[in-house]
Symmetry: C2
Subunit: 382 residues, 2 copies
């Protein structure tokens, strides 16, 4: 008699970036990172795990395609959750721990497009396993971390910090919540998914090469990041968007600077990403050049897509400018504008003089735009 | 009775980059830089300066267009050369120092395309003035430096180092020759001029913003560059192309990393630049991945154009690969392949298996290619 559990887990976007491991095996980072968990309403991994005595071997299917279960990171996550389940004695059916599992996982967004799919994927895998085996433990974030470093951050809602930790065994390198999503309810997120024909360097390989070859990375990890972590913690606590946004942009820039200082360099931003950065800079300088508080901030992970942070009051203006700069000539607006619907009336009220100051790029440089918010952690959905 | 002198001066390409001033007025850099002077056979500024009692005002024409003589950098160079001429007492016609001048300057390559036109321009201006007034002085490189920092390096042939200097008045921030062009006669240069529709940040503004906002720049200037300067000096002395090329690439990457770590970031590389970097990396890994010595090295200044360094023996192979990766469909090969003619026979002998491993980009991403060598300093040509 098999048992089945289905859970979802969110994507998270780092504001202070994780780049570089101090331990490749345990996936321990060289610096703290801070992230924002995005709403599972629009971006999520959904995983169903079935355990049963009749299942003859472990099977993993991602987005309908069978993948090898021999992946050591998958193996490790499975073994670690089972270990805790055994130790806790709380598993309602202890024999289940001896059964094989069938794992079916799917994302509602493109995999490996630089949208943190592995973070959501491993967080969901570990959370679903833990739910199946009746495990509730502080250690789950450490287990998810051994699947994919940033997965540990996807186990929490809202604003999350993953500590570097000091211990060699990684037991203090865990993610904790800094503030729930509800603490800053007017924070919105626009994800601009960029068309890109180049396959980027896988982030695992990229960060290993950076640790080996970038002369600037150590300085970033030991000097720049600790200062920024404090500033972002304070900005979140005080809902200081200007500081939050400014540090987010500077840290995104510095992360991509380190990628470029790597030999051979790894590139994640492309010409469209650079146009987005220029547009954001222009928006922030609309009022008083170099003096106005930040209205919208970009952050780019290991891919060309932009994650824009902004407050609810600025969504219509920024959305209208994005629409002006990145025109879309396709027929299906529903396929292009995803997530929270546009407030067309508020967008129509943006003065044309504002919009006219932005030069349009050639059409269809973006694949689509997802409008979302900060959101909740993983949960059971069956 | 007016007097006229015509001189030419070369472009130089930095191997260890100059980025950031410790004194904006005197143009004193925060780190040493090392450059290669390119042959005036293919890239040069030519300047004619006429002084005469009948000339009613100072006039400056660049590439046929009149520019303001009120530019403080132009004024300063003129005053400083006159000051030295007066002090030396060697000017054959001292009354000339009271006359106005007519300056006619032209480049045989696109101005402000990231091909160091201001370096060649100010070097030529100062050298021509000095020739007109009969000045021969070690101080000329310091005067050219006050026109455009890197201009001081264009006063020497071959391999040149511009010292940061320690003194507040800049008197020890001068360029010296490390080796003449003849010391490494098989060093060749291919300049890939990239089509770019975006106007880049002017380098004066970009470096000032980097000094103010990049948290990584100080570490670069104080820790990374001094180590690299020693390695490149040694590589030039020993004609060690592997080290020379590797450090050139790493320093180009680090310079562009600093530009990205600047807020707002400045971008000089575009998607075509990135394709060139990938091509170079692939060429260097043709023999033994990660082990073979460097065969060709890139360096990018404040623009998207690549300067490739390579030894004479590798010119046919690299040229054939460049032709394969960046196809040209225009009709005028003469307009596309400039400088030293291609050795078509040697290129035809490159095995197709080598070429076939490179994927072609879309046609006409490059505007043209200049094949040149390391060359001589400024000289009088009339």
């Amino acid at each position: 008699m098999s048992t089945s559990v289905t859970c979802i887990a969110p994507v998270n976007i780092a504001i202070i970036k994780y780049w570089g491991k101090r331990d490749d095996d345990l996936i321990l980072p060289i610096n703290d990172s801070i992230s924002v968990t995005l709403s599972t309403d629009h971006l999520r991994t959904k995983t169903t795990i079935t355990a049963g005595p009749e299942i003859s071997k472990n099977v993993l299917r991602l987005n309908g395609v069978e993948e090898s279960f021999e992946n050591p990171r998958i193996q490790r996550c499975l073994q670690e959750v089972k270990r805790i389940a055994k130790a806790s004695g709380k598993c309602s059916k202890p024999e289940m721990l001896e059964w094989n599992v069938h794992v079916e996982s799917e994302n509602n967004f493109p995999t490996a497009a630089g949208l943190a799919s592995s973070a959501a994927g491993y967080a969901c895998f570990v959370y679903t396993l833990a739910t199946l085996y009746g495990v509730e433990s502080e250690e789950l974030s450490g287990i998810a971390r051994m699947g994919s470093g940033s997965a540990c951050r996807s186990l929490h809602s809202g604003y999350v910090q993953w500590a570097r930790g000091e211990r060699a065994d990684g037991s203090d390198s865990l993610a904790i919540q800094l503030a729930p999503a509800s603490a800053w309810p007017d924070m919105h997120v626009l994800i601009l998914v960029v068309s890109d024909r180049k396959k980027a360097t896988a982030s695992t390989h990229g960060m290993a090469t950076s640790v080996k070859t970038s002369d600037l990375l150590k300085h970033r990890a030991s000097v720049c990041v600790p200062e920024r972590v404090k500033l972002v913690q304070k900005a979140i606590a005080e809902k200081d968007f200007d500081t939050f946004g400014r540090i987010a942009m500077k840290d995104s820039n510095q992360f991509h600077a380190i990628c470029l200082d790597t030999y051979p360099p790894c590139f994640y931003l492309n010409d469209v990403s650079r146009s987005i950065i220029r547009m954001v800079d222009q928006i922030n300088n609309l009022a008083e050049p170099n003096l106005a508080p930040v209205k919208v901030a970009y952050s780019f992970d290991a891919g060309p897509n932009a994650c824009l942070f902004l407050l609810e009051k600025d969504v219509p203006e920024v959305s209208a400018i994005v629409r002006r700069v990145f025109p879309f000539t396709g027929t299906s607006a529903e396929e292009y504008y995803k997530g929270i619907p546009n407030d067309e009336a508020a967008m129509a009220a943006i003065p044309p003089t504002v919009l006219d100051s932005f030069a349009p790029e050639e059409p269809n440089l973006l694949r689509y735009i997802i409008h979302t918010k900060v959101g909740e952690g993983p949960k059971r959905v069956d």
